[in-house]
């Protein structure tokens, strides 16, 4: 049984008579212990996907349809009370800006203790010793238990957030752009930490990022999102060696690569679509070099090709 199975998920933002189809019919599965990265540009729906899984879509966002099966239970069937036992415990999250999630008036260590005592029935002393252990695990010296968030650098704050995220012994961490506000050296440190936590604790990680290079470096599987659709999903190595979807190909060509011999500028023509009125058929067709009449008319089905999911007419309609 996969750890997480998302089936035909639709999450829309409904503003009067305008409907933004931010996540539109997305399905994927991930196994225990995997690092899966969802990569996409602004407005692709990747953050909405992450928030949908923990059922924290902000107003006017709404999950319209689909299933989110986590450890055999459909999260969309649970009451809010049942969901709140899973959220923050079995599934925890790390966001881009740790300052919005950390309490500025509370010692960092005490915040971890609070998280632990909320979810486990243990004494404060036990929780304190666990908090110290988790701080050390993420690379913060235990003596900084008594520091306040403002005494931490950006990277240390993100480490503290990660300590809180693992303190409830989750099966899954959802990390949405966790290093986007950090410098590149610190980003590399944090990514190394995520991989180590996966190896040592066996925790599964969903990483959400705009950076396909980062996705390539850290993940086992990659999901490429475009305009609310998951256009390709599969093993990182396979996607690297042979990207199937024209958008994935375009992204890999366009990304500035420090190790490549640069000869010309490559980019995808056109602009990302306005999701209140997405293009007909395949949403990528106005920017696609392979687009045909069919792509304008008909939305492609998701098919399995070469061990992965792809949503493109180039690969036929037959499952």
């Amino acid at each position: 049984m996969p750890l997480l199975s998302v089936q035909n998920l639709k999450s829309y933002y409904i503003l009067g008579d305008e409907v933004v189809k931010a996540v539109d019919d997305v399905s994927f599965e991930m196994e225990k212990g995997e690092i899966v990265t969802f990569v996409g540009e602004s407005g692709s729906g990747k953050s909405t996907l992450g928030l949908s899984i923990i059922r924290l879509l902000p107003y006017p966002g709404k999950i319209i349809d689909g299933k989110i099966i986590f450890k055999g239970r459909d999260l969309l069937e649970l009451s809010e009370k049942e969901m709140s036992k899973i959220r923050g415990k079995e599934i925890s999250s790390v966001f881009q800006d740790p300052l919005t999630s950390l309490d500025p008036l509370m010692r960092v260590g005490d915040q971890i203790v609070e998280t632990i005592t909320t979810h486990f029935d243990i004494t404060k002393e036990e929780a304190k010793s666990q908090a110290r252990k988790y701080l050390e695990l993420v690379g913060i010296p235990a003596e900084r238990y008594y520091d306040y968030p403002h005494q931490f650098s950006g990277g240390m704050r993100q480490r503290a957030m990660i300590a809180m995220a693992i303190a409830t012994q989750p099966s899954l961490i959802i990390a949405d752009e966790p290093t986007t506000a950090l410098d590149v050296i610190v980003q590399a440190q944090i990514m190394q930490l995520f991989r180590r936590l996966r190896d040592e604790l066996g925790v599964s990680i969903i990483l959400i990022t705009h950076d396909i290079s980062l996705a390539m470096e850290v993940s086992d599987k990659i999901g490429v999102m475009y305009a609310g659709h998951l256009v390709e999903y599969g093993s990182t190595i396979k996607i690297y060696e042979d990207p199937l979807h024209p958008y994935t190909k375009g992204l890999l060509e366009a990304v500035p690569n420090i190790e490549a011999e640069v000869t010309e500028f490559k980019y995808i023509p056109g602009n990302p679509p306005d999701l209140t009125s997405p293009p007909s058929g395949c949403r990528f067709h106005p920017r696609c070099r392979y687009a045909t009449e069919k792509c304008k008319r008909q939305e492609p089905k998701i098919v399995v090709r070469n061990g992965r999911l792809v949503k493109c007419h180039l690969y036929g309609d037959e499952a």
């Binding site: 540009e41 602004s42 650098s153 950006g154 990277g155 240390m156 410098d183 590149v184 050296i185 610190v186 980003q187 590399a188 440190q189 990514m191 190394q192 705009h210 950076d211 396909i212 290079s213 980062l214 390539m216 470096e217 990182t236 190595i237 690297y240 375009g250 992204l251 890999l252 366009a254 990304v255 500035p256 690569n257 420090i258 190790e259 640069v262 500028f265 490559k266 980019y267 995808i268 023509p269 602009n271 990302p272 920017r287």
Partner: protein
């Protein structure tokens, strides 16, 4: 005769005084400073793309603002096309500003939300009395077409809120280029642009370079982007230039341990690539109490005693390749 160098910067410094709390004011007399830029020198050749690269707090943006004369330098000299502009004011400064245009990171912040795109681009023409009326409008329409906002008649009438991030940055470029400048300071000009469009914006910037024979000072934290367009790159760390070299040399043979660490940390879209050594620690939260000697020594894997005592000068280790490190 034109000067070979369009811009020369000598020993440029900018210290920002630190605000003190009331009690601190009573207890201490010494003023404390953030040494944002702490004595840097470089020359930019006419027609080249010169990049200042580095992480948050390295002083790259402050340097750009000093050159644009949006900030007053604490010390040092800025020479533009042979003329000392360090303390220029009034009409003289305005004349220089026509020749030197900025493009900033955030087009949301630099465009007036209540002004039509066309009017925004036209405004500098009118301020500097270059063209008015129909003549100005046709110049604007030409410019909109050149930056890829087609049909230009439609985009002329739109407001910034009607545009995507990439389109807004095209407007900022049009607004800068309509002045036919000689020198552009582009501060993180493509950093917020989605990756599928980044190269498109860079291409437009480089087309203008050809057409107007422009020189660029390109400021970025993205070394991979810098590689695409730069002739030379200077890497900054805590207010100092630590390495300066032609692009090929700095990528093929980085010498300063910080440059090496920075390059090793940049993700590469290749899952089979072996990760190089990752530097520990972080850039100090703010460059107030900068480390003694070489500023990088507390994080440097190569540091020895001398590094904590004496500041290494920027010296030429091979032709055109400058490094500030006692080990080099």
């Amino acid at each position: 005769m034109k000067n070979e160098y369009i811009l020369e910067v000598y020993n440029l410094k900018k210290y920002f005084p630190l605000e003190k709390s009331f009690i601190e004011k009573l207890l201490t007399r010494k003023k404390r400073f953030v040494r944002a830029v702490d004595g840097i020198s470089f020359k930019i050749r006419r027609g080249e793309v010169f990049t200042l690269a580095g992480e948050t707090g390295c002083g790259k943006t402050t340097t750009g603002r000093l050159i644009l004369r949006l900030l007053e330098p604490t010390e040092g000299k800025i020479i533009f096309d042979g003329q000392d502009i360090t303390h220029l004011t009034g009409e003289d400064l305005r004349k220089i500003r026509r020749r030197m245009q900025p493009i900033f990171q955030d087009p949301y912040a630099s465009l007036n939300p209540r002004m039509k795109v066309g009017e925004a681009i036209k405004q500098p023409l009118e301020i500097h009395q270059i063209a008015t009326g129909d003549e100005a409008k046709s110049l604007v329409l030409d410019m909109l077409e050149k930056v890829g906002l087609i049909p230009p008649e439609k985009f002329y009438e739109l407001y910034p809120r009607d545009l995507s991030g990439g389109q807004r940055q095209r407007v900022s470029i049009a607004r800068a280029m309509i002045m036919k400048p000689e020198f552009i300071v582009a501060d993180e000009a493509v950093s917020m642009i989605d990756v599928s469009l980044k190269a498109a914006i860079l291409e437009i910037m480089m087309q203008f370079k050809k057409e107007l024979n422009l020189t660029y000072l390109f400021i970025t934290h993205e070394l991979a982007v810098a590689k695409y367009i730069s002739d030379r790159i200077a890497v900054m760390y805590l207010g100092k230039i630590v390495e300066l070299a032609p692009t090929k040399k700095i990528f093929n043979n980085p010498i300063h341990p910080y440059t090496k660490a920075l390059m090793a940390a940049i993700p590469v879209p290749n899952p089979t690539r072996k990760k190089k050594l990752i530097l520990t620690g972080e850039v100090p939260v703010s460059p107030i109490d900068v480390p003694s000697g070489c500023r990088f020594h507390p994080r440097c894997p190569m540091a020895y005693e001398k590094c904590s005592k004496e500041e290494p000068p920027l010296i030429e280790v091979e032709p055109e390749h400058y490094v500030a490190c006692w080990e080099s």
